[in-house]
Symmetry: C4
Amino acid sequence: MISLADIEKAAASVLDPAIWDFVTGGSGDEQTLRANRAALDAVAVVPRVLSGVGGASAATVLVASPSEFPAAVAPMAYQRLVHPDGEVALAQAAYSAGIPYVVSTLSSSPVEEIAATGAELWFQLYWLRDRDVVRNLMRRAEQAGCRALIVTVDVPVMGRRRRDIRNSFALPPSISASHLPAEHTAGAQLTDAKTSALAAHTQSIFDPAFGWEDLAWLAERTSLPVVIKGILDPDDARRAARMGVAAVVVSNHGGRQFDGAPPSITALAAIVEAVAGSCQVLLDSGIRSGKDMLRALACGADGVLIGRPLLWGLAADGAAGAYQVLDLLRAEFTESLILAGCADVHAARGLRTITRIGW
Amino acid sequence: MISLADIEKAAASVLDPAIWDFVTGGSGDEQTLRANRAALDAVAVVPRVLSGVGGASAATVLVASPSEFPAAVAPMAYQRLVHPDGEVALAQAAYSAGIPYVVSTLSSSPVEEIAATGAELWFQLYWLRDRDVVRNLMRRAEQAGCRALIVTVDVPVMGRRRRDIRNSFALPPSISASHLPAEHTAGAQLTDAKTSALAAHTQSIFDPAFGWEDLAWLAERTSLPVVIKGILDPDDARRAARMGVAAVVVSNHGGRQFDGAPPSITALAAIVEAVAGSCQVLLDSGIRSGKDMLRALACGADGVLIGRPLLWGLAADGAAGAYQVLDLLRAEFTESLILAGCADVHAARGLRTITRIGW
Amino acid sequence: MISLADIEKAAASVLDPAIWDFVTGGSGDEQTLRANRAALDAVAVVPRVLSGVGGASAATVLVASPSEFPAAVAPMAYQRLVHPDGEVALAQAAYSAGIPYVVSTLSSSPVEEIAATGAELWFQLYWLRDRDVVRNLMRRAEQAGCRALIVTVDVPVMGRRRRDIRNSFALPPSISASHLPAEHTAGAQLTDAKTSALAAHTQSIFDPAFGWEDLAWLAERTSLPVVIKGILDPDDARRAARMGVAAVVVSNHGGRQFDGAPPSITALAAIVEAVAGSCQVLLDSGIRSGKDMLRALACGADGVLIGRPLLWGLAADGAAGAYQVLDLLRAEFTESLILAGCADVHAARGLRTITRIGW
Amino acid sequence: MISLADIEKAAASVLDPAIWDFVTGGSGDEQTLRANRAALDAVAVVPRVLSGVGGASAATVLVASPSEFPAAVAPMAYQRLVHPDGEVALAQAAYSAGIPYVVSTLSSSPVEEIAATGAELWFQLYWLRDRDVVRNLMRRAEQAGCRALIVTVDVPVMGRRRRDIRNSFALPPSISASHLPAEHTAGAQLTDAKTSALAAHTQSIFDPAFGWEDLAWLAERTSLPVVIKGILDPDDARRAARMGVAAVVVSNHGGRQFDGAPPSITALAAIVEAVAGSCQVLLDSGIRSGKDMLRALACGADGVLIGRPLLWGLAADGAAGAYQVLDLLRAEFTESLILAGCADVHAARGLRTITRIGW
């Protein structure tokens, strides 16, 4: 277990195939999923030498949360699907690693139980048809001590995930979205031979008409910093920054939403330029090593969100497995910093990059 | 059957191998055929977020025909080769899906029978040596209620389709070009060990000397809007637009004519710029998903023509199979619109694209 | 036998493996050999439409020789290696096809016998250590009725052709350079376990110190138009044009000399620009279809030389096989002209090209 | 044995798999290792013709050392791992070939024994925590007659070489760093199931806080020309040049240190421009043929260092095997010069290059 790929193999061998497909799959032809990998691999980072600093500090502040290294746990639905300890175990790992954990609207464990781990929490919000539920979620997140509200904007409908459709994927009875009222959760457990229950469920409870005005409505109703997740166009990033968001997350939802979208690393530079320092820029979709983290920073990101690899770790060995993923990422990233001649995260953002064409 | 690739497999398993080759093959080394796919795959479309519109309308007007989504059935010869119901079945599917159907000069069913389906029809015209036949076809198309004349300009001779040559491909006796006088159809049924009967037949009846003056002659003799199909050079597009055509179709004939031609998606941008809005720009050659449709629109097309996939559907299950193809394309395209934050077809044309080099 | 690839397969099945390796191999890692193919495949040619001309004329004049289509037979050594009728058979094919045949300095048949076929001949000259032999070759070529002198400048030494080295390749006793005095030919037949006899022979008789002054010396001593073959750098092309050569041949010697050189199609545009019409520009190295010929012309060449494919045809079926290759090329090229909307060779040079990056 | 690839195969068949992995492996995902090869292959060099010079001289001066061809033996640790004669045998080969040999700080043979071969020596220096050892190494190198000090700056820590970690790689008892005091060498021989002993050893003795001031300190304390090795950023190269170094080595340590770094051939041009002739520019990482050497020179390098291929030769056949590698490189390089129309090394630096995108 010396690289994330080892842990991925371990997870693939223990998970139910349909759950593995749910975790690993993307939408459509999975072109964006594959392009995320290829585009990261195409970024070479030019190291500096003779910095004169022994070691490097990976510590940073993401949104308003101190973080041992520039990463947070991405919001991911139904983590109990891959391990009985689910969100709590993953938050324990985040706590041990000293990075923020993002609680999903579709968490299979309640935020209060997750908060009990001591982890620094952010709460991820979907825009639901039932506005009362949204209001309650915001309140509940604040009361549980969450430090940021991270609003996902790239799921007006769910992307067409063919693996889940072929598997007629549905949640088992023991797992549901613990933050939602019972009348809003049953749909995700109804097997239908022709579709994915999760897609149908999303369609029934998410409000696809989410707009900039709604985002303003949200921002007015919370004292927490607001992050918007799922931005790829620089005009959208600029508009978000002008609204006063604390950060944007450049993301294609790990290739699970609009297949055909550019890799997030490819979209990053224009967004960094567009927001011009007025808010932080985070990135997700495809980060699989400390080297990938350095690539993102050298291209202008302040930090990254880590998704699937943590489900691999969780599946393979619960909290310990998830921690091992974070520990590897931290070690690899710190080593990459040192090898690139950077004393800290700030220096990493000044590295030159050379992007090979042909991801 | 949840993607066009599933339907392709079904068609491959039911069709006679020589007919499959006729449908699927291209000319020469099939480089343009393959490049069409690769070039579409290389186009990433940058989605927008927070449009505030729930759902999206895919409806548009192509040439002068309202269409439920920005697609029309491409003109394809001898559709009864793949299914006994041939053109009539495919037109029924188009009617059900609410998009135009283009009747081929080489239709194996008469336009009047096709018109009886109620489908919005356009009539495709080849320039034949026998000018009387051309005149009669134009008249007949108008009388059958066709709404546009779509003139194919990229077949001065037939491309060298090696699969058909190796198969000594010829039409079975039961199938012929129903719009042509009997003396003009027999050649397509004569097996010759050294060539494709269709190539020989084309050579005998098509006039390779088709020129801009002839196009003007055609345009003067019809009250219908004229579309020219098979344009890849921007100067040709500009000239056509100045002649007053209603639309140009950027096409390499699905890789079946000049092998070595650029992918149509690659040629598109210069043509959109050249015509500068003075006529519509349609695209065909390689569209295989709703995502591909969005790619074409984001690159500036007003709509697309769908070819081979409809023959797959027709082969697999007649009108129902063809409809399934259209239904999938409509659903995928609409979802792509929503996921890209577009309320309608017009918004799609304003999306940014990032083209990876190396198709 | 409907493409050159079919004929290649036939040749591979009849030739002795060591001779096949000699014909097909390149130098070094064969990177330039492979790149020639890839770079041609990367050139898309944008066809024109509605030219109004039925058919197309492929005829042209290369150097001072009328040619039925813009190709000549490349100079190739020892053609009797692949077929007992050797150069005479290949010249017969060229005569039948109406294109020039280039007699090699290392021809295994005398120029007078080749001339008896009636073919339009050019004579290829290497710069030999024995200046008297050079003088005699020039005289003999003129007296045999050759119409141009084509001087090869890219063989100061032979490229390291590993296949020939591994095969300890040497000429059989029955084959030798018929134009050279006996004392200059024996070396090519001496098997040496550690090297290729042809490389050793070349080293012993070729003068590597060939320079611009020597070329001037040659040009002064002949009444024939002088062509120089093996140019890839535009400064060299410009200098040659200023010296008054009739043509330069952009060539990497079919990937057999300097491995690491660019594909000739890649080098072409800068050379066309450099000579600015003051001499013709021919191209060889990798032409395998009429489509490739059109690519070369669209990129600015006046014509091409055809090499290995003619040895395939010769090996497979003597003069008839070689003619079949030329006939296919002529047919494919003429079809390509028509499909690209060109009435003649001149129009082909005005076509747009789009070069994909990543050969 | 007619190419380096043949010798590589021979070495792979005789070496212990863990030692083979140590020699051949890179760090991380080995992306930089692979990219070195791909990027060199992407450089085409445009040859010149008619230089009028028979043959070519490959001789040059590297730093202050005359060299028969523009290459030196790269510093490589523990050469006795691959052959009992280790450094001495390799230096004999360098002596025979007339090129400099770089003695590693981690040499498994003492510099005095290596010097006895008569080879032109440079001494490679790591910056060690124990400053007295550094001082002593410098003295000892000078006294042994070394002609340059080559300071490696890209190993603040060792890159994560997964092959060595999986193999729990450690030195056998018979091999150690002969220049270091015994208390500093034992760690490299301690097998630890979880890591590579070499990585642990490096960490314990190397000073990661090596900076520009330390380099100045070194430079003041030696009369030898100073070369710094491991530069990829042009600003670092410029700073080194301003400090008065004799040369910089553009290198990514053969893909063994920062995985994610650009290929050295890709980084080269900006560095050549940055130093603007004020010092020499050498290159290593991936040179595997005389063609690769010419590529490096055409892109602006003054010479190259050769690493792994010499360990292959050493493993396969001791000093004779290593000499065979150098002899092949010299022969291939000289041939490449001649085929590219260059009379000497200086002319090679004036050749045009065309870089294909997509390494």
